[in-house]
Symmetry: C2
Subunit: 341 residues, 2 copies
């Protein structure tokens, strides 16, 4: 059956990088696309960053592909005014997306851009699976007299589902990151990881690493990791730290997954309003987000890998958009990648 992809080009460079991505996906499968206004574009048309109609359409779709939202036009400190980011928060909530996946796969052709030495990053191919709807960022918080607090809180069920997402994404090895030598929520986390491993994924190698140690090893020995699964705040810190290993933030894709519903796939970069409309935006992170959609949304591993190697190949053959120090434009980049597909 034809899979439906809800397309949210959003703002800034979003539409420019979405168009060639549709072309790329059409070469790999029989997909039906439904395009919707989202973010600032939706605010302009409907006064809200995410309408009920778009929410419903995304819930009905088999996957959601988002480019980027925001821009100075909608920047406001007035809490009563709508903001583009609200669309993202609303959509995550409506789709029940509790897992954020951030792959870090430095491309050999761009090793020079990494702050790390070539021999350290060579062969790195890791995935950070971050819990997205619980933990310290969502627990009870407040202030009384001269004291302020936040609560890191997790239920067994919340831990179980994110840990399963981690195990499912792993081929050989899962690294669970916690602070079980100090935190009670981490001790519960580790108990659940051990049980889920024993009962459902005993064929996968499991290791536990403390969060401070993980922050060290990501720099000193990033090839030690395949899939890292961790709670919300640890994942926030470690996924951003990992992103820096590549030195090319403009190339990073991400996936947000929930239960049985559609996942949301988007580049890590923003809407780059300064270069919007010029046709020079780098579409590669969007292509790589499409690869994640194929892999994690539709279980089309071969097609996902084909996109990734076409991107690697194009870069190896010298493709460089402006953000990578070259003068290739969006059309050049799209042509180069499609050529190697």
């Amino acid at each position: 059956m034809t899979k439906t992809i809800a397309l949210l080009p959003g703002d800034g460079i979003g539409p420019e990088i979405t168009a060639p991505t549709v072309e790329l996906l059409n070469k790999l499968g029989d997909f039906s696309f439904e395009e919707h206004l989202f973010g600032g574009a939706s605010i302009d048309a409907h006064g809200t960053a995410l309408t009920d109609e778009v929410t419903a359409a995304c819930q009905r779709a088999d996957a959601v592909l988002l480019a980027a939202v925001g821009g100075p036009k909608w920047d406001t400190t007035d809490p009563a005014k709508p903001r583009p980011e609200q669309g993202l928060l609303g959509l995550r909530k409506a789709l029940g997306l509790y897992a954020n996946l951030r792959p870090v796969r430095p491309v050999p052709a761009l090793y020079d851009a990494s702050p790390l030495k070539r021999e350290i990053i060579d062969g790195t191919n890791l995935l950070v699976v971050r819990e997205l709807t619980g933990g310290l960022y969502f627990g009870d918080r407040g202030r009384r007299d001269d004291v302020a607090w936040d609560t890191m809180i997790y239920s067994v069920e919340e831990i179980e589902r994110i840990v399963r997402t981690g195990f499912k994404a792993a081929r050989k090895k899962l690294t669970s990151v916690d602070k079980a030598n100090v935190l009670e929520s981490s001790r519960l986390w580790r108990e659940v990881v051990l049980r889920v491993h024993r009962d459902e994924f005993s064929h996968i190698e499991l290791e536990h690493v403390l969060v401070d140690n993980a922050a060290m090893q990501l720099i000193s020995n990033p090839t030690a990791f395949e899939v890292i699964v961790t709670e919300n705040m640890f994942g926030d810190i470690l996924s951003d730290e990992s992103a820096m290993l590549t030195g090319s933030i403009g190339l990073l894709p991400s996936a947000s997954l929930g239960g049985d519903g559609p996942g949301l796939f988007e580049p890590v970069h923003g809407s780059a309003p300064d270069i919007a409309g010029k046709g020079i935006a780098n579409p590669l992170a969007m292509f790589l987000s499409a690869a994640l959609l194929l892999r994690h949304g539709f279980a089309m591993e071969d097609e996902a890998a084909a996109v990734e190697s076409a991107v690697d190949r194009a870069l190896a053959e010298g493709l460089r958009t402006a953000d990578l120090g070259g003068d290739a434009n969006t059309a050049d980049a799209a042509a180069a990648v499609l050529n190697y597909l």
Copy 2:
């Protein structure tokens, strides 16, 4: 008046690296040393890692210099048995040490050992000031039914004193790291930082960086930092990440400071029981800990800087102990550094 330094050689290589450090300090000032059993050595003699007499002696001293504690001899999972680390926890508490200082100052002669490219680390000289007695590691925690929690909690007073420690350690710039876009405790943290800056340290440049962004910048642009001040868990993660920048963990010193009482100065490395007694331990982190004692304990900045440049010079001239891939022993290393003092 002669300053008194309480010496805690501790276990393993501790005594071997303490002896030349006393020699080094004697070249730089008029100090009186009082040596005490601590850690495993104290367990063997007195059945406890820290006696009341030693606690009192440390409280009376002007500074405490500790080498390392622990070893397989005292490893136990029996909670009723004494453990060497309990000495450290007890001493920190008795001295009211709420600030942990970890300088990261890669030595040019050892840039090759860093996972980072030379041009990225060149010129890095940063200090992480971590709050040590509050926050997520000490707040209320527990478990009820299927849920576990920990609490990140700070009072205005706790924040004020660590922030002052940070400002005092800065010459030009302080970076306060928080997650004020999400956490209430971080919002209180930022308010206090702003007030202390305005009222007491307006001559120091102040910047606020979110913790995930800090984790990125430490890799991509470590020279952007001079002093980082942050809460306990963020500091745990960021100080360990920073430590990795040098690639030579064996060279890192640390300081723990309280209010008006003596500070505690010690290398980050452990007691290395595998090489204890062979006379081949690297004493440089201990020398650099003595430099921190001079700087932060006794305000002897010139003497502290002299130790650091003597260490740099010795390494530049080729000094390499076994941990650095060479065959210099402890005596060789001590002679080389004293020679350049």
